[in-house]
Subunit: 295 residues, 2 copies
């Protein structure tokens, strides 16, 4: 049993904190939103009056927040209140630069830290089947892993501070690009009179094979479990894909990397969002590419 | 035993014709290049004085030529000389429009036809392990399949005339896009201090998984059999990827399909070729994306 503080009880953080309670940990938590606090309380999470109060007795602090500025603000707020040696784990998906600043803030206070963004969405958060991509020292990872393992199924140590965020944005950049590529191919196939199933049969067993095709196929039919079969309900919302592609572009610009297709993918998902589809699954980008005549 | 005429005995056609001889067929062939005729003769292929002469007694004609204009010229030349009912199979990779014109030429003469472009490269041609993507009627496919099966391992019927070409360019457009996407991700990872192996470990088992990553990884190390481990010797030459991406763009423009990443990929491979790398494996595009400091 570990005393854990959990800051940020939204659609992801709430069920994740609940899974820590279920695993027998003592969880004290805070969120600015009253409804989120109530929902977490119903899962057995202890609610504090503030973030500072939540962390006072904690051995481990977990944060799950929208963006880098929130993480830096919360960590700056709570660090004076945590005991030295407390492990800080940020599970938010944020920019690499802020993640590394957060590590530095923690180090000043003598606290080990991990950046541990997740994939797997709200379903994974509820079912404790998330994947964690983790950056930080070996020592910090060894302490954090058993905690993360109660909220997820796969915990990958990606290297030093910030590398969890780096792995996530690199992976999701491949994902965003390949989903557009697969969608373009299906639209081209349609115009050439080639059936979805025929293209699927060829590419799923050859060099065009990719997760976007064989697990998450953007047209209904070939993969019955893909969101395309459920009117493109997420799944993984286009707004979140856009967020990750923007983070990849920020990182590329800061680090001096040239990512022409990553940049184009970010622009295309920005368009998809501008057309009011941010709440649709990201595979719905095929509608943007197909044009007015939805097939 | 079938009497087969084979027109076009280059790096692909030569060994393919040889495999038909090996399978017990009587093969009569022609190529404009003397050296290609000699190499094929050494494989037991009978050499004729012209394409017309080669096809005179054939039950099946196979062509393997560089581009659509060559296929149309050769088919127009030989069709007056073939017997009615002869099956014409074009294994070249050409534009969809020319492929459909070739089918129409054959139909005028009462000849069934197939477009049957391949993947698998010269290794697949020699080892008879090619994949054939085939367009044409069921009846023509049923006649052609046993012939193709002596030159390849996987024969996929993709639908009506031209659909073999359509499937190939749609698949290779996905491939070209995903290889650039994976390469961009590795370059971004390098600049962020994330190791190749860490990115591979995350993405190969999650939503970034694709053939370009897990079978043909563009950095040395994670997949020991990929061309990156052999100084980017092809494999599949960048010049051929550029050819296929251009065919995809031609088809998209003719059919009114919008393929923004396909267009960008064609431009990036054009750049890769412009930098003198047309003979390198297409995964060498990572050098273009990395910039001067080759890692």
């Amino acid at each position: 049993m570990t005393r854990i503080a959990f800051i940020g009880l939204g659609n992801m953080g709430g069920p994740m904190a609940g899974n820590l309670v279920k695993a027998g940990h003592e969880v004290t938590a805070f969120d600015l939103v009253e409804a989120s606090r109530q929902a977490a309380a119903e899962l057995g999470v202890g609610i504090s009056g503030s973030a500072r109060e939540a962390v006072a007795e904690a051995e481990v602090v977990v944060t799950m927040l929208p963006a880098g500025r929130h993480v830096l603000a919360v960590w700056a707020d709570i660090l004076p209140a945590v005991k030295p040696g407390t492990l800080l784990i940020d599970c938010s998906t944020i920019d690499v630069e802020s993640a590394r600043k957060a590590h530095a803030l923690a180090a000043e206070k003598g606290c080990p830290a991990l950046d541990a963004p997740v994939s797997g969405g709200t379903g994974g958060a509820k079912g404790a089947t998330l994947t964690f991509m983790v950056g930080g020292s070996e020592e910090a990872f060894d302490r954090g892993e058993p905690i993360l393992a109660r909220m997820g199924r796969k915990i990958v140590h990606c290297g030093a501070a910030g590398n969890g965020q780096a792995a996530k944005i690199c992976n999701n950049m491949i994902l965003g690009i390949s989903m557009i590529g697969v969608s373009e191919a299906f639209v081209l196939a349609e115009k050439l009179g080639l059936s979805h199933q025929a293209l699927f049969d060829v590419s799923s067993t050859s060099s065009g094979q990719c997760w976007s095709l064989t697990t998450y196929c953007p047209v209904p039919g070939p993969v019955p479990t893909s969101p395309a079969n459920n009117d493109y309900k997420p799944g993984f919302a286009s707004a979140l894909m856009l967020k990750d592609l923007k983070l990849a572009q920020e990182a590329a610009q800061a680090a001096g990397a040239s990512t022409p297709l990553g940049a184009a993918a970010a622009q295309l998902f920005a368009l998809h969002n501008a057309w009011g589809e941010g709440g649709s699954d990201f595979s719905g980008i095929i509608h943007l590419l197909r044009g007015k005549e939805k097939g």
